[in-house]
Symmetry: C2
Subunit: 242 residues, 2 copies
């Protein structure tokens, strides 16, 4: 394996090592070569190797034990859908091994309601772009999603292609990049339109996320109301205990 320089070396190492783990070249449960070995093998400094290993450790793909070695965890690879990587439904569906498709339901420009004004820090009577969509996994509807963007952000004129992740919509039409998001997590019964769209019973609970997305200047970009059918698409969370 050759290390190219144009991209950060540590990132390339992450990709290479992750692939070796997933392919089984480094079997689950086995010990990786020592940091010094890897460093000389790839002809980089140990610090660079450690940066790469830190990423893999954050993904819980490996465990590092001082005085012992670096070991490959077997369980994380078995998980398909999990929060943590990116908060991107399309990615999560594809990661579960299914075909993801985004079906637009409604795109409209309208006045913001009080909650939206508050959350998005916009003035009374400001216009917002409301995007309602359904995410399908192998053509089965699994997520009902409404996203609200302040109209003032929308630099590019329409028509908008909303069959893509919200991240791309913001990039293409608002030139804004999401830095982080905060989700408020709830269990709820589906409103009628959601139940209908997801083919669910009105008395079957499902997950709801109230999301706020921010750019790296801490400005709110988008608000989201997302209904997630956890029976159709399992949702996993992985936690470190330092």
């Amino acid at each position: 394996m050759v290390i190219e320089r144009p991209k950060p070396i540590a990132e390339q190492l992450v990709i290479i090592l992750r692939e070796k783990i997933r392919s089984g070249e480094y079997p689950a449960g086995s010990r990786l070569p020592s940091e010094s070995d890897l460093a000389s093998q790839f002809d980089v400094s140990r610090a660079t190797i450690r940066t790469a290993l830190a990423t893999l450790e954050a993904e819980h793909l490996i465990s590092r034990r001082q005085g012992d070695g670096t070991y490959i965890n077997k369980r994380i690879m078995e998980i398909n859908t999990h929060m943590g990587d990116t908060w991107d439904f399309k990615y999560m569906i594809e990661n579960s091994g299914r075909i993801a498709r985004i079906q637009p339901i409604l795109v409209e420009l309208r006045k913001a309601n009080t909650q939206e004004q508050d959350a998005l820090e916009i003035n009374r009577d400001s216009l917002v772009l409301s995007i309602v969509r359904i995410f399908l996994a192998d053509d089965q509807p699994v997520i009902y999603s409404e996203n609200i963007i302040p109209a003032s952000f929308c630099i590019n004129p329409g028509p908008y292609n909303v069959s893509q992740p919200i991240r791309n919509i913001l990039m293409d039409y608002c030139h804004q990049e999401i830095a982080y998001s905060i989700s408020d997590l709830m269990a709820t019964l589906p409103p009628p339109e959601v139940a209908k769209a997801l083919s669910l019973d009105l008395d079957k609970p499902l997950l709801k996320f109230f999301d706020l997305f921010f750019n790296n200047k801490d400005q709110p970009l988008v608000l989201g109301n997302n209904y997630y059918n956890d029976k159709a698409l399992r949702l996993h969370v992985v936690h470190s205990w330092e």
Copy 2:
């Protein structure tokens, strides 16, 4: 502020800087001194400062912008309960500004059922310790929790003090440390005993977590079935978008 050497310098810096941010010495939205300035101010290398800042960035307390500077985020501090730090209900309740108390309901030794045998990788007819508890926030019951530990792990004889986080129980009685956990997240209607314990209606949905805890050798330690009243204790998740 004095830097002591016994603990990792980077960790001390995290604590100091976090405190300066929380106290308002570095106001929200303002720019931190540059990495070089901080390095000479604390008389450490820039690499060490960067390690500390990386931690604060992972907590979303700061944003770093190449060519610009390091800025303090204002929103994260306003969130009380959130997953990510530690998957510890007691900590989460206290972090929301309320008094946390753990009330034992039932502690018993019994045979493992099939699901438990599978998840915990133990043999048929193996014994497990079942711990049922309720978490109270300001004396209001908010979480119903059942934890299953293989009896073979329990080195110390009872009586067990189960009014403490599962992490401590495992440390004290099993000499085992949790390295990471995987949670399966669901919306559900409460079983009768849960509804009763949490004073909930049977038709009001709530969150359920099916948890598995592992040590750093990738062995399953504990299984958890947790019912979380998200109306009484809001649950937030913060995501990075790299």
